[in-house]
């Protein structure tokens, strides 16, 4: 029915005629704005009236105990999970709750998953090629050509992620850590306005952690970054605002030092020691 009315509506602008993504409007401040978001699974409240804003160009760390709802929060932002109540805005123009995953992705929200997910049958190079910012509609994709510029970009990212030598390997045979890097690489190829990075350094050596931290810091400013991590050393090295989630809502917020002194945070999350 809706299809018919869509077809007969003269005013209607078909999706495939509209430009891929209209610009994000950040004149009024935050790039991401979540308010009173609640999600429950079979009665269990994974996110509980969460309110959170991320400013344009900000690098924000989110920490919190296992099961605090960090990944779920990212699921909501990227359209994977629909909240029961609340609102989520990207800039001041886009209501993310009315959009589906590809639309949100083409708005410029990129994501690295907690469990690395890459296209196992494709090579590292192809994985990056697919992630590249481009017109992702069907026919443009069919006729897309890889220009020199694109290649350079891919080479650049390969270098950044240390995967040059593996570029023709199928992604399925990579080790865990290598997949992590590949996913980060894919995120970079997308050139998103907002990066959601879930546990980027799990399985990385100290050195690599440093490199990752540098990378993320260098992105901040141009792009907004949200990082979830359990490695306190890493979070500290990013040295930005930290938000602590607990049982689906914000427990504390501030600099790393402030937060790590908060007794509640110490109790539920940090513990003594490290």
């Amino acid at each position: 029915m809706s299809l018919i009315s869509e077809l007969t509506d003269r005013e209607h602008v078909f999706d495939f005629l509209t430009p891929a993504a209209s610009p994000v409007d950040v004149r009024h401040g935050p790039i991401l704005y979540m308010e009173d978001v609640t999600v429950s699974f079979d009665g269990f409240r994974a996110i509980d009236e969460l309110t959170l804003t991320i400013n344009d160009g900000e690098l924000r760390c989110i920490i919190g105990p296992n099961g605090a709802g960090k990944t779920t929060m990212m699921d909501i932002i990227t359209g994977k999970t629909r909240p029961d109540t609340g609102s989520v805005w990207f800039g001041s123009r886009h209501n993310l709750l009315t959009m589906n995953e590809p639309d949100i992705a083409s708005l410029g929200i990129g994501r690295k998953f907690q469990k690395p997910t890459v296209f196992e049958a494709l090579t590292v190079f192809e994985n990056l090629e697919l992630a590249m910012a481009a017109d992702k509609r069907v026919f443009p994709t069919l006729t897309a050509k890889l220009t020199g510029e694109h290649r350079e970009r891919i080479d650049e990212v390969l270098e950044m992620t240390g995967l040059q030598e593996l570029r023709w390997r199928t992604a399925g045979v990579l080790s865990h850590g290598q997949k992590q890097w590949l996913e980060i690489g894919m995120l970079l190829m997308q050139r998103p306005r907002l990066l959601l990075v879930d546990e980027p350094v799990a399985g990385m050596t100290e050195q690599e952690m440093e490199r990752t931290a540098e990378l993320l810091t260098s992105l901040a400013g141009k792009q907004s970054v949200v990082v979830v991590e359990h490695d306190m050393g890493f979070v500290r090295s990013l040295a930005r605002t930290v938000t602590v989630l607990h049982q689906g809502s914000v427990l504390a917020e501030g600099s790393m030092d402030e937060v790590s002194k908060d007794p509640k945070v110490v109790e539920v999350y940090l513990g003594e020691g490290i």
Binding site: N66, G67, A68, S175, G177, Q207, R211, H230
Partner: protein
């Protein structure tokens, strides 16, 4: 407890482990380190029998040649395994996930030891939730709990702290130490995070490109070695 001699392994054409020797002494925690993709996980899989070995010896408990035993027997011999990437059974409930380990126990215990719930209260709380619904860290806890259900003599851990909140990571370390001290448990650990390794391991071994490059007591782990093998 476990002695590895001249281990070679191939993924199809590509030679991954090269003449690898490794000693895992009883009632000690041995930590294997190395950069991404050097073959740490592969080594552990060989011990568990998840990958086939092309040559070399795996001597368990001085008498058992592991390579001659079917995969299922290894857990019955008392080897517990926490793989990288959790590998829990996503559609089984948390409790059922734990119960899978009971098959390997020789003492006919058919109850999940209370100890595990004490260690990871969240598992008790979420007993009836499907494993796949848990958060990443909860899954990791489940994976460790599941390995402990069989009351292992040798516990193999592949980056166990990954994705787990700091206080629980510390707690896991503590428990490992306690088991080593009280029950004489042997631990083979793969870990990238130096502080953790330094704090909880007794011995270390460093791998590079499928070969073991160095080993020794954890205090012998020098900055030189770290620089040479653990940085890019």
């Amino acid at each position: 407890m476990l002695r590895i001699d001249g281990l070679n392994q191939y993924y199809g054409e590509s030679h991954t482990l090269w003449d690898l020797d490794l000693d895992v002494p009883t009632a000690k925690c041995t930590c294997v380190m190395g950069r991404n993709g050097v073959g740490k996980t592969t080594l552990l899989k060989c011990v568990m029998g998840q990958e086939t070995v092309s040559s070399g010896q795996l001597q368990y408990n001085d008498e058992v040649a592991l390579t001659e035993r079917p995969v299922e027997d290894r857990s019955r011999l008392g080897i517990g395994y926490v793989p990288q990437g959790r590998q829990i059974f996503p559609l089984l409930t948390v409790e059922e996930n734990l119960r899978t380990g009971l098959a390997a126990r020789r003492d006919k215990v058919r109850q999940i030891p209370q100890r595990i719930y004490d260690l990871f209260p969240v598992l008790h709380e979420m007993k009836h939730r499907r494993g796949g619904d848990l958060s990443g860290g909860q899954q990791q806890q489940l994976a460790i709990g599941r390995a402990l259900v069989i009351e292992p003599r040798l516990l193999i851990l592949d980056e166990p702290g990954e994705g787990i909140q700091p206080n629980i990571v510390a707690q896991i370390g503590e428990v490992i130490r306690r088991l080593i001290a009280e029950d004489g448990l042997t631990v083979l650990l793969v870990e990238q995070k130096l502080p953790f390794a330094r704090r909880f391991a007794d011995r270390f071994a460093i791998m590079d490109r499928g070969r073991r490059m160095a080993q020794g007591g954890i205090d012998e782990l020098s900055d030189d070695l770290i620089k040479q093998y653990l940085t890019v």
